[in-house]
């Protein structure tokens, strides 16, 4: 299976995230104006499409990587999942105990939080294993 170059991968992710940002800025404000429930749900979920495509692109990058790249991706993903899960359970317990009052909209930070921890961990691993900033 042909490997993506790191540059192709980054370009695809950048384009998808730009589409996401444009949808949030220009399309999301229309959601409260939609009175039909189905239309409102569709408009609300539209920004999720580029995010799901980013996840698919990242998964494809992992599958097409060589064994070191796969190891780095999977360790970084595991650490991101562990950190975000731990933060979620801590947050949920504080909310249930009425110590911390936040709405359900805090869930919007789960994906960016996962991406942040994944990115930092992956960069640190690549730096440690290869002495460079990229592994692709």
């Amino acid at each position: 299976m042909a490997r993506y170059s790191q540059r192709q991968y980054q370009l695809q992710v950048a384009v998808l995230m730009a589409v996401y940002a444009l949808l949030i800025v220009f399309e999301w404000p229309l959601v409260p104006q939609a009175h039909d429930l189905v239309l409102r749900a569709l408009l609300a979920l539209l920004p999720a499409i580029p995010v799901v495509l980013v996840i698919v692109t990242a998964a494809r990058q992992v599958v097409r990587g060589d064994e070191l790249q796969q190891r780095v991706h999977l360790i970084a993903l595991s650490i991101a999942a562990a950190v975000v899960s731990a933060a979620s359970i801590v947050g949920a317990l504080l909310v249930l105990a009425h110590v911390w009052r936040v709405g359900g909209d805090v869930l919007i930070w789960v994906f960016p939080g996962s991406c942040l921890v994944y990115g930092v961990t992956r960069t640190a691993l690549v730096r440690k294993l290869t002495g460079t900033w990229t592994c692709g």
């Binding site: 060589d66 070191l68 690549v126 290869t130 990229t134």
Partner: protein, 66 residues
């Protein structure tokens, strides 16, 4: 694990990228193997040994057991 990958690659006059291309891995992976920061999987170790026409145990040498 110690290995002779860098020595044999240089003997063949190949760059890390050229060796990586022959093994279908990235240049960074070859660099990590050569510097001992990453131990390759058994299939990749056999591919390296076959490419350099070496026995796998002459290519890779385990560290002293503690």
């Amino acid at each position: 694990m110690k290995n002779r990958v860098r020595e044999l690659r240089e003997k063949h006059g190949w760059s890390q990228a050229e060796l990586g291309e022959q093994l279908d891995v990235s240049r960074q992976t070859i660099n990590a193997i050569e510097t001992g920061k990453y131990d390759p999987s058994l299939p990749l170790a056999f591919k390296l040994a076959r490419l350099f026409r070496q026995r796998i145990e002459t290519l890779f040498e385990p560290d002293e057991e503690r």
